[in-house]
Symmetry: C2
Subunit: 249 residues, 2 copies
């Protein structure tokens, strides 16, 4: 019977600038009696990666531009937050209500460029890591340094979506697994050739992990065990749909 | 330690028109020594629900309209398939390449109105259930009839998305759980009031189950155990974002 286990790493502790998230994961697993193996996927909340990489900003130290102040008034948002969002954005996709949907410099389309004031301390906001794939590779290497095993790593964040209510967690950085499972051209058990069978498994793994992580439970690291993954370096960029091919937006 | 287990129900067997998917689930669980409990979520692939409800159509028995023939030529698609897609659609959202993105009568925005020729037998296509919430409720009641326990039920399908490559499984029907987890207004551990914390947990559970289900492994029923859910009747319609509030499309 195919079986997946998904469990949180308890007692992770606070992460600060310069910390090695990978070493912290290895050590927390030891404390919890978790023996990581090379087939595991370690899902790490973006927030702690951003903290380790010094991507937190105090809002009272930001000087908003005239445009940020104008947008802040229009959207009833803190102009300092708007300034941070703009600094992270390639373009604004849509704005309205109190929301800004942008394309980030990484190519992610999400609310507020992923800039987020939750779980970071009052008066602060965290930006996404500059290069989340590189962050994932670093975490993976640091786990391996301590544990000699290199599980795959996914850095996750909660993204809103077109057409549907609510966020689901997706992979913003990956290391050690192919983020999509492409079965196009293979046949189902009736002999029908599959045409649309490309599953975004890194996103599905991130979503599965979110069910354990939660939004405020302080479980920023979750192990997904038993998942069939294709091992390769991988990149979350494989999950970005080129605009010309996107009929869903 | 918070822990989720996700496992498939092996040896499910073929589903035909008139079959009770709920009874089949109860019986297959018995054969596999799986004791369902009221806190489990049973995720059921839409395809077997459609089969049980007689939603399969032989393409050679469909008479395509002139418009379906024209679209078929334009998109290099079987006009009979296009006819079925149109019959399931409220409106065409986009078309191009070989794809049609539509809004179904249920309100789902997805490729081909969910009409799909995989895993149903050659020359056939399955439509989505007419009322997937009602289908989920029926499955739940039929499981309870056999097992005296009523786990929550999610009917899942693989949907493409705006902005991102690949499909993820989402909930098209639910029974026995609140499909979203709304934590807006609660505070994180720093005292910050969460503003955007609405998680589409039914979609995340469906995505998690897909990791076990796969596209062609013949594992159409997956149990998700250990998930914190809010028990109520629920409806997948809660996951449909009203157009006026949708900045992501």
């Amino acid at each position: 019977m195919k079986r997946l286990e998904i469990f949180g790493v308890d007692g992770f502790g606070e992460v600060g600038p310069g910390d090695s998230v990978g070493h912290m994961i290895a050590d927390a697993c030891s404390r919890n009696g978790i023996v990581l193996n090379a087939d595991d996927v370690v899902v790490v909340a973006q927030k702690i990666v951003s903290k380790a990489e010094g991507m937190l900003h105090r809002l009272d130290r930001i000087t908003p531009s005239a445009y940020a102040r104008q947008l802040g008034r229009e959207l009833d948002k803190d102009p300092a937050l708007v300034e941070l969002i703009l600094s992270e954005s390639k373009r604004i996709v849509r704005k309205g209500g109190r929301a800004m949907i942008v394309e980030t410099h990484h190519g992610f389309v999400c609310a507020n460029a992923g800039v987020d004031s939750s779980n970071v301390g009052l008066g602060q906001a965290a930006l996404l890591p500059k290069d989340p794939d590189a962050s994932a590779r670093k975490i993976r290497a640091d786990i391996q340094e301590r544990r000699s095993q290199a599980p795959a790593v996914i850095i996750s964040d909660s993204f809103g979506r077109a057409w549907r209510v609510g966020t689901v967690d997706v992979a913003v950085g990956v290391a050690g697994l192919k983020p999509i499972k492409d079965e196009r051209g293979t046949k189902d058990r009736y002999g029908y050739e599959l045409k649309a069978a490309v599953a975004a498994i890194a996103d599905e793994i991130a979503s599965a992990a979110e069910l354990v992580m939660g939004k405020k439970d302080g479980v920023p690291v979750v192990i997904v065990r038993g998942c069939e993954i294709e091992k390769e370096e991988g990149s979350a960029k494989e999950l970005l749909r080129p605009e010309a091919e996107d009929l869903f937006r």
